[in-house]
C-alpha cells in the first residue's frame, strides 16, 4: 500500500469515525470470561507463496499466531483451526457449491498439502480442525455448537483473508452470540488496503479490533479452564 493510498484511507476513517461516534456506533463489546482462539484458513494455500490463494505478510501473521497459541495452550483455552477444502472438484455432484463461480476453489483439494494447516502453527491433540466449504467458519460447520457447549463467550480471531473468510466469520460470531475480537497483527489478505477497510467496518459494527499485546495480556489474566460439565463416573462406567 503506497503512502498516498494509506493517507487517503486514514482521512476517510477519521471522518467516518466522527460520524459513527456521534451516532452511537463503534461501541466496545469487550472481552468475556471464557474465550476460544479461532484461526481462520492458516493453511499452506494461503500462508505459502505460489498458490492462487497466497496472501501477503504471512510471516508476521504466523509469528503473532504462534504467540497466541502459546498463551492459549498455557490456559487450556479451546483452540480451533479452519481450512477450506473440497472432496469433489469435478462434475455435477461437486461440493464446491456456487462459490467456485466467483473464486478458484478448484485449487483447494481435500487431503492435499495445500489445505493442511501450516506446520509452523500445527494443531496439537485436543484442538479442533474444521474443514469448511464456505467463507464463514460457522456456515455448515459444528463451530457454533462446539463453542457454545464448551461454555465459550468470546472468540479471538486470526487468519486470512480479512476481506472474506475472517470478515464473514466475525459477522457470524456476533450473530451467534459470541464476542468477536479481531487481533490486528494476526490477520492478513492478498491486498493490504482491504485489511484496513475491513478492520474499519468490523470495528465499527461487529467486533473489537485489538492489538496482539492486549489479547496476550487477557489470556494471561485468565484461570486455567476446568471441565464444567464432566460426566458422572457412574454414567461412564455404564458405557
Amino acid at each position: 500500500m503506497n503512502d498516498d493510498i494509506a493517507k487517503a484511507l486514514e482521512t476517510i476513517f477519521a471522518t467516518d469515525s466522527a460520524l459513527y461516534q456521534s451516532r452511537g456506533f463503534q461501541r466496545r463489546i469487550g472481552f468475556g470470561t471464557r474465550p476460544a482462539l479461532v484461526n481462520v484458513d492458516l493453511a499452506n494455500a494461503w500462508t505459502r507463496p505460489g498458490n492462487a490463494f497466497s496472501c501477503e505478510g504471512m510471516d508476521g501473521v504466523i509469528a503473532s499466531v504462534q504467540r497466541l497459541l502459546a498463551a492459549a495452550r498455557a490456559k487450556q483455552i479451546p483452540v480451533v483451526f479452519t481450512s477450506t477444502a473440497y472432496a469433489i472438484t469435478e462434475g455435477p455432484n461437486t461440493d464446491m457449491g456456487l462459490w467456485y463461480h466467483k473464486v478458484p476453489l478448484e485449487c483447494l483439494k481435500a487431503g492435499s498439502p495445500d489445505v493442511a494447516i501450516d506446520d509452523r502453527i500445527a494443531p496439537e491433540p485436543g484442538e479442533l480442525v474444521i474443514v469448511k466449504k464456505r467463507a464463514s467458519g460457522f456456515h455448515g460447520t459444528p463451530l457454533a455448537g462446539y463453542l457454545r457447549s464448551v461454555g465459550v463467550d468470546t472468540v479471538i480471531l486470526t487468519g486470512v483473508t480479512m476481506s472474506a473468510c475472517v470478515r464473514h466469520t466475525t459477522e457470524d460470531a456476533i450473530a451467534e452470540g459470541f464476542r468477536p475480537i479481531v487481533v490486528r497483527e494476526a490477520v492478513g489478505d492478498r491486498i493490504a488496503a482491504a485489511v484496513e477497510w475491513n478492520l474499519f467496518d468490523v470495528d465499527a459494527k461487529f467486533a473489537d479490533v485489538e492489538p496482539l499485546d492486549r489479547v496476550l495480556a487477557y489470556f494471561d489474566s485468565l484461570d486455567t479452564a476446568q471441565d464444567v460439565t464432566p460426566l458422572p463416573d457412574a454414567a461412564r462406567r455404564r458405557a
Copy 2:
C-alpha cells in the same frame, strides 16, 4: 466522498483487480432462472433523516427499488423485505443479543414507525416482510427456507447498509446456494466510501455487482412464475 478519496480508491481497485484477475478471482456467477428480489432494511429508521441509522442518498435508492418492484411484480417474482427490530430493549432478557454492544439497536423498537418499511416502497399482499435480529437477512430467519421452497436460485439484493446488513446478507446468500446479484444504484450506506469498498470486495468474491438497467432487462426477460408444486385438490379438500 471528495475527489481525492474517490481517486485513491479507484487506484486501489484498479491495482487489485489486476491481481484478482491474474489469480482467477472476480469470476461472474451470472443470473439463474428463478430470482427473488430481497430488499434489506429499507425501513424509515434507515431511509428517512433523523435516526441514528439514517443513511445518505436514500431518494436514489428508493427510486431504483421502485423500478425493481414494478418489474418484479409484473412477473410474480417473489419479493421480500427485511427490517431489524427488537421486542425487548431493556433488562436481562433483551432480544438484542450482543450486537447492541457495537451499534445502537435500542433505537429499533418493534412496532414503531421507525422499523416499518418506507411507504414509498410498501409491501403488497403476497410479499414477505421478515423482521430480523442480526445483520444478515438469513440469520435466525426463514429466508433461506422460503427461497429454496419456492424454487429460487438467484437473489437480487438492494438496501442498506452496504457495509453491514447488505454485505452479510450477500455473503450468506452464496453460502446458502443462491446466486447473489447486488444492484449498484439500489444500495447505500451512511458512508459513501464504504459503499465502494464493500461493492469491490463482494464483486471480487461473493456476488456480481450489476447496474439497475441490466437487472431490469433480466426481469423483463423472464416468464411469469407458475405454482410448480400446487397441492392436489384432494388434499386441500381433506383439510
Copy 3:
C-alpha cells in the same frame, strides 16, 4: 388410549429401558443454572376444539403451563412462546414451504385468531413470541441466538404436539447446546399413544422428561435474573 394399548406400550418401554441402561443410554442431563421456559404452539388452533390442528387434553396442559409461567415470571426467567403461521397460503410464492404437502398448513393464516397464543396463558410484555414456519422452534427463527445471548443453558419445554413440534424443538435444543427438559404434564398431542412413545424416545436420547412439580421446585430454587451485560451509560447516551 385403551388399557390393552397402554399395557403393550408399558411392556415395550420396560424391555427397551433395560437394553438402553445396559448400553449407557438414558443418562440424565440435569438442570443447568439459567433456564428459559419455551412454550411450543399453544395457540388457539391447537388448544381449542374445531381446528384441523386441535389437540386432546389441552385443559390440563394449559393449567400446567399457567403454573410454570407464574413460577418463571417470579424469577424473571426468559419466557418464549412459539406459534406457526403463514403469510402467503396461495400461489407460487407461498411461505408454507414443502411442509403443506404433508400437513394442512393452509389452516394457519398469519394474523388470524387461530394462530394467536391462547389467552389463558397470554404473553406479557418482555416475553418473546416467535412465529415459525417449520416444526422446530429453532429452524429459521432467532430462538437459538436469543437464548444464547441472554445466557440460557437450559430449555424447559411445554406444548404441542409431542410427535412433531415439541419433539423436533427438543432435538434441536440439545444439538444447539442447551439442556432440554420436557415437562410431562405440560405436553400433548392429537394421539395419546404418540405422547408416550415420543417421551420415551426423547428421554432415552435427547432430553430429561421431568414431572411438573420437580420443574416448579427448580424454578423456585433460582435467584432472580440480573442483567449480566448491561450497556454502559456512556454508550446509551451516545445513541
Copy 4:
C-alpha cells in the same frame, strides 16, 4: 417385537390414521426430479455387533442399501454418507457437546474403525462422507448447502437409528426444503418397535415412507445427472 406388541401397535396406527386422514394429515409429498441418496450412520459402530451403538437387523438394511447404491450410481445421483465421531472425548474442550450426557458418545472416536462406513457399502470417489456431531445429518454440517447447490430437491433416506439420527435428519430435510423419502427396508434401530412408531410419525407429518422397490423404480426412471452449472473454460484457465 413379539406378536402382542405388534398387534397393539397396529391397532394404534389404524385408529390414528383414521384421525389423521380426517384432519388432512398423512398427505403424500411425492418424488421430485433430482434426488440424493443420504445414508445415515451406517458405520461399523452401528452395523456390526459388540458396540454400545450396535443395531438389530443390519444385514437386511445393508443389503437394501447395496441395491440403492447400485441404482443411484448408475444415474450419477449424488450419494452422501454420514457418520458420528468426536476428536476430543476428554476434558473441558470436548467436541461431544451436551449430547454425551444422554448417550455414550465417548465410544465414537474420530479416526477409529468404529466410525468408518461399513465396507460392504464403501463410499466411492465422488461421494461425500460427512462427519457430524449431532443426531441430524444437517446440524452443523454442509449437507443442506451441498444438496442445494447440486440442485437436489428430494432426499432418499436410509440408515440408523430410526428413533434418533434418521428421524431428526428427516425432520430437518423437509424443514430445509427437500422432499424426504424414507426407505422402509433400509432403516433400523436397536428396538424394533421404535422403528414402527417413528415411521408412523414421520409418514404422517414429515416424509413419505416408501418400499425399496418403489424407490429403485424411481431411480431407474431418471436420466443420468448432468453438470448444470459448469464453470466456463475461460474461468478455469485463469486459475
